[in-house]
Amino acid sequence: MTMAIDIQHIDKLFGRTKALDGLDLQVETGTVHGFLGPNGAGKSTTIRILLGLLRADRGRVRLLGGDPWVDAVRLHRRLAYVPGDVELWPNLTGGEAIDLFARLRGGTDPVRRDELCQRFDLDPRKKGRTYSKGNRQKVALIAALASDVDLLLLDEPTAGLDPLMEAVFQECIREACAAGRTVLLSSHILAQVEVLADQISIIRQGRIVETGSLTDLRHLTRTSVDAIVDSPAASLATLAGVHGLQDTDGHVRFEVDGEHLTVVIRRLGDLGVRGLTVRPPTLEQLLLRHYGDEPARHGAVA
């Protein structure tokens, strides 16, 4: 299996702040890799190192088989980048910016570009300064998706998009994946990543704390259950894998470890369920699980 991205144990210091602390990240060619972490965990720093815009203080970085610091220009022909905060030139139209980015990268497919403009519902004739945040993001996304590249580096690409556009985005990423492209998709919201990603890496305080497929990670985590039942539910607390049970007048809330779900749900059913909400773990819960009871956002760096 070839690796589109292979980062081995890199450090990055900004002054005295350690932004990256022995980070490892491997992304297989042709997969969508979710890069998850709270704000300030080091996602953007990692992506900028992959772009050769920053240089790692220590460690080894390979991108599409090259060194991004040395071969930046050559490698940039084969990748497209969408930053989290897209800034456009105030007096260039969105259409001009799309064409320009594509040409600076080395060519684009005009048919695909127009199709994407239509799908993302973007008016390319407006000046950069008149676009909202979401529309600026669309400009960068269209420019990236219309390019014929091997790798897409997307740093929180859907932060300003509405749910409808997010659906279009997901469709486009699936198409890109079907066409054999590799995608690194960073986000701080688990839900955005889990629908698309084959593999997920979770970054916290500059290092990867979990990596694997979503199923692999789920296995390690708890599911939140929120139910309205007829009988008293105190007995559930005695079951293996049940945590933090609360029962207020028939409204039961608890968390359960993945491997014990079957037993717990069967017992819950015996209590006479009138309402039930089962939620997958959120990123915060994943991190909480990994770091005991310490709040995840505590002490994050840069």
């Binding site: 900028r48 815009l53 930046a72 980048y81 897209v86 259409g95 320009l100 040409r103 600076l104 008149t130």
Partner: protein, 552 residues
């Protein structure tokens, strides 16, 4: 319709319901709070400027003879163009000279104060979206404009009192001093009202202040032409009466002391403000009367690389500078002849700046070449500042994430700016040449002038390269380049007067090529400066290549 049930943070006491100016008082207090630095900076700053002129003049003029010497220049057409109609200059006193020659610049400053303040509190607020929050409260449609106009009126009154008081405190006639102060304040009022109209036209604050600023410039030129005609005793001296700045100057403080021209100013301000109100009622919130036009959906075929992008980004400013320098060249060129006439008995120092009495024509044209080179130097520094904002506003990152290397990125901007240098000098030279030829009726100096202008190219290139190097080292040290430019300016102009030793000018890039046609162009200097600029630029690219993005 406006029954207030909740405590409004912005509008405290709406009083009797739904007028279009409801909330003006509160907004005014809010604006005063926001402008707690700007208000004193503008008003005291303008008074200090006048105080500086007064002190400097009194130091310079020690005897009535010195004053006589000044009349020769100030009473000439050139002096009128840059000063005023010269009321009472035949019997000159210090205060007449101050009001007649320097008053113009304080008045222009007041005009800027008026128009910038109105734009800042109306269109700029609307553009940023903050005005929407305010207008959602119990605030009338016209409250913001009204509060802004009241604010400027207050500022204008303060300026009038400060300047009037300052002049009176120096022992000048009280009535004249007050009139002078009020004339300055009137310009602020008029251009605040002009801005009240221009802010309605476009969605963008820059376009609003740009249009109002252009009108201020037009007012300056109109009265200049009129005043020139007035001192020559022939021609279209009525042009001064078309200019709001002219009205203020026509009050002739310390000479005729007439107040009635200010009635025109007041009537104009009221009419313009009324037009502003009328126009604002005809447009939607946040929109302009001139709808924004959609741009091209696709990039032009030539926009296909880093150099094309750099050119596209600098294009608007290049066009603006070309037009401005051409106009400046034409204007300065066109009073070559009046200047020659006026200078025959100017003070020695002034003649020395121009290269001595025997070479007055060549000296003037040579000095103008240097002036234009310094102006192009300003263009170059501003162009490098564009680079800085490209980086700090995150657009550089997007470009560097494509197949554009760091040295290509900075290099593309350097090349485009460098090519612009000889072009702008050429344009300025053509303007000067045509103006001078028309003015003197002799086109003989045309080619010499062109050469004299374009010959400064390597000096400006070196300035550009040093600016690029400063930027490459750290963007925040870029402003240091103004020191080099200022040094070049001071040395270029004042070395002959201030007895600065020639060796001290060695470091100025502008001191080596020679001010053709007064001096010969030194080919060695041209070559050395070009090589030096090329090497410095190369070093800048190398330094920049090893650095990261997101620097400060």
């Amino acid at each position: 319709m406006a029954t207030v049930m909740v405590n409004q943070p912005v509008v405290a006491a709406p009083g009797q319901g739904g007028g279009t100016v409801t909330g003006t008082g509160t907004l005014l207090r809010f604006m005063l709070r926001r402008d707690r630095i700007r208000f004193p900076a503008w008003t005291v700053g303008l008074a200090l400027l006048m105080g500086y002129f007064a002190t400097a003049l009194e130091t310079f003029v020690e005897s009535p003879e010195d004053l006589e010497g000044l009349t020769a220049f100030s009473g000439s057409p050139a002096g009128a163009l840059f000063g005023g109609p010269g009321f009472g200059f035949d019997d000159l006193t210090t205060e007449r000279f101050l009001a007649g020659q320097y008053g113009l610049y304080v008045a222009i400053g007041a005009g800027l104060m008026g128009l910038l303040t109105v734009v800042r509190h109306t269109r700029a607020e609307e553009r940023s979206g903050r005005a929407e929050l305010i207008r959602a409260n119990v605030v009338g449609r016209h409250a913001q404009l009204t509060a802004a106009l009241v604010l400027v009126t207050t500022m204008a009154a303060v300026v009038a009192i400060l300047i009037g008081g300052l002049m009176a405190s120096r022992g000048y006639d009280l009535g004249g001093s007050l009139l002078f102060g009020v004339s300055v304040g009137a310009v602020a009022l008029v251009f605040a009202a002009v801005a009240a109209v221009t802010v309605q036209l476009s969605e963008y604050p820059r376009a609003a202040s740009g249009t109002a600023g252009a009108l201020l410039g037009a007012a300056f030129v109109l009265r200049g032409l009129g005043d020139m005609a007035a001192v020559q005793g022939s021609g279209a001296s009525w042009l001064s009466w078309l200019s709001p700045v002219g009205w203020s100057q026509q009050t002739a403080p310390y000479v005729h002391d007439r107040w009635w021209p200010l009635v025109i100013s007041l009537a104009f301000a009221v009419t313009a403000a009324a037009a502003g109100y009328a126009l604002s009622a005809r447009r939607d919130f946040g929109a302009g009367l001139v709808p924004p036009r959609p741009g091209p959906a696709r990039a032009a075929a030539w926009l296909d690389g880093p150099f094309a992008l750099a050119f596209r980004l600098h294009r608007a400013s290049l066009i603006g500078w070309s037009v401005g320098l051409l106009a400046a060249g034409l204007a300065y060129g066109s009073f070559t002849q009046p200047l020659l006439d006026g200078f025959t008995d100017a003070p020695e120092d002034l003649v020395a700046v121009m290269g001595g009495a025997e070479n007055l024509l060549d000296g003037y044209l040579g000095t103008m070449g240097l002036t234009m080179a310094l102006a192009v130097g300003v263009y170059v520094v501003l162009a490098m500042q564009t680079l800085r904002s490209e980086e700090s506003e995150g657009r550089a990152e997007s470009v560097l994430a494509t197949a554009v290397s760091r040295s290509t990125w900075i290099g593309s901007h350097l090349v485009v700016t460098a090519v612009g240098v000889p072009w702008l000098l050429l344009v300025a030279g053509v303007g000067m040449g045509v103006g001078a030829a028309v003015s003197t009726g002799d086109a003989g100096s045309f080619t010499g002038l062109l050469l004299g202008h374009v010959a400064h190219t390597p000096a400006v290139w070196l300035l550009l390269a040093v600016a690029a190097l400063l930027y490459a080292v750290a963007p925040r040290v870029l402003p240091l380049i103004w020191v080099l430019l200022g040094y070049g300016l001071i040395f270029g102009y004042f070395a002959p007067i201030l007895d600065i030793p020639a060796g001290a000018g060695w470091l100025s890039p502008f001191a080596h090529v020679g001010e053709h046609p007064l001096e010969e162009v030194r080919v060695v200097a041209v070559v050395v400066l070009t090589v030096l600029a090329a090497v410095t630029a190369q070093v800048a690219c190398l330094v920049f290549r090893r650095d990261v993005v997101g620097r400060t």
